[in-house]
Symmetry: C2
Subunit: 221 residues, 2 copies
């Protein structure tokens, strides 16, 4: 009995996700789904990214959390139109939650919508939100074994931020072991080692993201 | 339709959890359920704990992961009888998985069974495994806002390890803000700030755990 119910939920989710993608495409707006463990630095990445893009692009942020609106306050202060979703216990966002949030932001005035998923390295990977790219934020203190232990999540992402590189001298982390694990699962992923804290390494990420925004805008019908 | 199914799953889980607790009690074995985000240091905590207790107590470890048996190899090398559960995608352990694992280890020769849950700060909190105590491993680089954002998990734990204190000089972490968040949710929790890497602060945790093991053994029928 359990499996048919789960399949039905996933199928309904995929249908709404497709509608979200059509909505974003119609407005020429790039959608990102940011995934990570709790505390890997998703919100900080958005805080550092928005000011570096906001002269050229208009940005919306959809914040997903079980509780609080702390993150939407932070991304709003960074200069993004921000909406908070509280999942009330659910361990991931789904396409319907994102649809409700997209209806609350002025898509015709935006170029980019960043969706920050709930901090969880497992469940969010199973739910398409209708964004264009999944971006995973890994972080150095989490350890170099994570691609091996969370293969589904690493396999399904288009860009990989390797955050907190400033902590490399202070923890045991074998960057080669980590990269080998990623390559086995996902050889075409775009990787960006960086430190949100020091700002080092942010530019290649900003350049990649700017290019994706321009491509989506150019494809606007 | 969805909610009755979820309730039925939870209820069945609770029944098996109760059987697990009876099984452990019958053998006078303390059971711990270790919860944490990916990379907070659950396995490392077990690696550091086992050698400090193994002269006095016999220890079993049940390792839960989506994939690989890397962690069971590590805890086995540390001197614990170890069993690996691969959940094959499931984001948490449940009582049935733990029951299968308990049947594979010699409970009549043990004093302590440590169950390491899947790395996830959300879903494991909803599933009683039939252990005696939930132990949460938080870590400094995860950030000081986690109690506020994951209230259910922080509310349901009996002991809180605050790991990676050696990184305090290198990250922005307000220990008072973190502790206030914990106290609001769970004022009776036993807290242990420590560094598995340097060993600093491990002794109070080892003492607390030794005391719990002795109490459970003394209550053996």
């Amino acid at each position: 009995m359990r499996i048919p119910v789960v399949e039905r939920i996933t199928k309904a989710n995929d249908q709404v996700a497709e509608l979200n993608r059509e909505l974003l495409n119609r407005h020429g707006v790039l959608g990102l789904n940011i995934l990570a463990s709790p505390g890997a630095g998703k919100t900080t990445l958005i805080e550092k990214t928005v000011p570096r893009l906001k002269e050229r692009f208009r940005i919306g942020v959809v914040e997903g959390d079980i509780a609080t609106n702390m993150d939407a306050e932070r991304t709003s202060a960074a200069g993004a139109v921000s909406v908070q979703i509280n999942t009330g216990g659910s361990c991931h966002l789904d396409a319907s939650m994102v649809r409700d949030a997209l209806n609350q932001i002025p898509l015709d005035e935006l170029d980019l919508v960043i969706v920050e998923n709930v901090g969880n390295l497992i469940c969010p990977a199973a739910f398409d939100l209708g964004t264009h790219h999944n971006v995973l934020v890994a972080s150095i203190p989490e350890g170099d074994d994570k691609p091996y232990k969370y293969p589904r999540t690493y396999r399904g992402v288009d860009a990989l931020i390797i955050n907190k590189t400033d902590l490399l001298p202070h923890v045991d982390f074998d960057l080669d072991k980590f990269k080998r694990g990623v390559e086995i699962l996902n050889e075409r992923v775009a990787s960006f080692p960086l430190s949100c804290r020091t700002g080092e390494g942010l530019e290649p990420w900003i350049d990649w993201l700017g290019e994706q925004i321009r491509r989506t805008a150019a494809a606007k019908p």
